[in-house]
Amino acid sequence: MSQHSTTYVPKSAFGKWFESRLPIAGLVHSSFIAFPVPRNLTYFWTFGAILVFMLVAQILTGVFLAMYYTPNAALAFQSVEHIMRDVNYGWLIRYLHANGASMFFIAVYVHIFRNFYYGSYKAPREVLYILGVIIFLLMMATAFMGYVLPWGQMSFWGATVITNLFSAVPVVGETIVSYLWGGYSVGNPTLNRFFSLHYLLPFMIVGVVILHVWALHVPGQNNPTGIPIKSGKDAVPFTPYATIKDVFAVVVFMIFFAYWVFYIPNYLGHADNYIPANPAVTPAHIVPEWYFLPFYAILRAIPDKLGGVIAMIAAILIWCLMPWLDTSKVRSTAYRPLYKQFFWLFVVVCLLLGWLGSRPAEGWYVIMSQICTAYYFAHFLIVLPVLGFVERPLPLPNSILESVMGVQKGGAGLPSGANAEPQTKG
């Protein structure tokens, strides 16, 4: 299945002519129609489709916002209010875009933790997985710069705090910061370059997403059992089975998304960002958006500035080493009774870090952040390597089919083979 061997046969004369020159229809057919999908995927596997939807939604709403937005320090705040008040349905487009960023991160965190739980990062999916980490880093950069654009108080001070982190880099730190700023403090040049990059990065994300999907179609999807497709009976063709499930999941996610947009559109933002940026007045609490909070807690847990920055970056880059740090041969946590407990402990620690990131850096909060940060890294550096040796996994089923249907049912009457054509209608 890795050769993208196309079973697509063009019907029309033009189709044949075109396919022999650019076999794109065949590529689409093999990737999204005939592609064999494990038949036991749960709804956790629909978040890939949800993320594609969110990326497209963010780009579309963003393009329309850019038609009215003015990236100038004196006009940016006003232009956002112009969108909110005077542009037809401008309030809708802007609330979709602002809340869309949060929805994007909710979906990506579910996607990432699904990957952690079912061991999707393990061989042969390491490259697919690392491409995903790169997408996440690009998303963070894009979201951060997007939050600066309305040029409210939190935009300005968030930008000041985060860009200042780069000054911790030895020797070249100050130079990097002045290039980010385009001057000696956050100001109009900063806003201009952030706007430019905020428009550029999503298209870089699109590029890496294409690689991510490409890399997915070589080994195929993981599944809740973690064991590969062994026979045609373990799989169903992507279309219509996975397609309809993905479309249904996307629409359910849209209901969730719409709830925030129409009923509590400012809940996930900060009240301070409705105050125009003022370099002379510092807000009482400078807090990043919720999706950055765990990393912000790690940053502040380290008393040294450079150390904090290194820890924060390492907290994400360490994900790239997971395929090699995890020594267990078993992918799915469903068959790893000991690791299952550590997995949920890790989830709790991440949530706790998120909460600590929203608290002021004082007293017990700092100590708790330090304990959680230490555990966060211990999960990767100690738990993952050691458990592979000490844990006795449960017996794996012989096949996906056996696992989900039970041996007695035997999967009789299942027509579709791994490389079979999709069902004819009717």
């Binding site: 038949r39 036991n40 995927l41 749960t42 709804y43 006003q78 209010e81 909110m84 008040r85 309030w91 809708l92 609330y95 809740p224 059992t225 169903v236 219509p240 089975y241 309809i244 499930k245 479309v247 249904f248 629409v251 359910v252 849209m254 209901i255 719409a258 709830y259 947009v261 129409f262 009923y263 509590i264 559109p265 400012n266 809940y267 009240a271 301070d272 409705y274 105050i275 009482a284 799915s332 469903a334 068959y335 006795r392 996994p393 449960l394 017996p395 794996l396 089923p397 056996e402 696992s403 989900v404 249907m405 039970g406 999967g411 009457g413 299942l414 027509p415 579709s416 069902q423």
Partner: protein
């Protein structure tokens, strides 16, 4: 003794509002608003009264620079008539120009003009107000909030509580109480129970009976002419100025929700039918037998 215990209990439960020590800020009480919830709408009469309070009280120091006179006639707001708005705008002098001779000039306002600010610039506003410019009020209802704390920040999502700015503003306007005994209020400052830090530059802005409300047939005011009512009315007006499309948003939201839920239902049954071709949908993995590999 018993009475004292009850008092302490009441204070802990937040029932006795003016029981605050100097350092802590009480939580603003949650009021009931016509615009809360999924079907919320503004009360036109309340917005019109609130505008009157803004105009006669707040406008002497606070701008409303994102609002144009025409907005007052638009659907979903106070909905004054076009003629009323034209007459209102004409009462203001707006600087325009330069004309053909290159001079700036003043002319009566038109519905398309925005509310002129009470001060020519921020420095002038600061100079006239003890060093700090009074904030523009267009967005104030979204720019102010208070800490909700656990677990309320979770329940707020389900209750759709987004009137925190409004509740804070009403509490602030009603918060001009006597400072606790022994507290020194610095010159130019005023004690406010709900303002973070308690010392606010703004003096108590309005007193009972200061703004006259429209009369009904019996010659009675439409609503009580009290500070409490003024605070509610002007806050409702400021929620509208901060979120002028609130009604349209909630209305469209209901339609979108209905559409999506029906669509999701249809897709669910479509999915079931499609998966029936391969013997129905099977998900996940069987519960593994709880025995270990030998």
């Amino acid at each position: 003794m018993m009475k004292r215990t009850l008092l302490i209990a009441a204070a802990i439960l937040g029932l006795s509002a003016p029981a605050f020590a100097a350092g802590e800020t009480p939580v603003p009480p949650q009021l009931s608003w016509s615009f809360q919830g999924p079907f919320g709408t503004f009360d036109r009469a309340q917005l019109q009264r609130g505008f009157k309070v803004y105009r006669e009280v707040c406008a002497s120091c606070h701008g409303l620079s994102y609002i144009a006179f025409r907005n007052l006639a638009e659907p979903g707001g106070p909905e004054f008539s076009e003629a009323q708005v034209r007459a209102l705008a004409a009462e203001y002098q707006i600087q325009d120009g330069p004309n053909e001779a290159g001079d700036m000039f003043e002319r009566p306002g038109r519905p398309a003009d925005r509310f002129p600010s009470p001060f020519p610039n921020e420095n002038a506003a600061a100079a006239a107000n003890g060093g700090k410019a009074p904030p523009d009020l267009s967005l104030i209802a979204k720019a102010r909030t208070f800490e909700r704390g656990f677990p309320w920040w979770i329940t707020d999502v389900f209750r759709q509580y987004s009137e925190n700015g409004a509740d804070y503003l009403v509490a602030l306007l009603n918060g001009y109480v006597e400072p606790p005994a022994g507290t020194e209020v610095p010159a130019g400052g005023h004690w406010n129970a709900y303002y973070p830090g308690h010392i606010i530059a703004m003096p108590k802005p309005v007193s009972d009976g200061q703004v006259e409300y429209p009369r009904n047939e019996a010659g009675q005011p439409q609503a009580p002419e009290t500070v409490e009512q003024y605070a509610r009315d002007v806050t409702a007006f400021l929620v509208w100025t901060a979120e002028p499309h609130l009604e349209a948003r909630k209305r469209l939201g209901f339609q979108v929700m209905l559409f999506l839920i029906v669509l999701a239902g249809l897709l669910y049954f479509t999915k079931k039918k499609i998966w029936a071709r391969v013997g129905g949908e099977v998900e996940g993995h069987a519960t593994p037998p709880m025995t270990h590999n030998p």
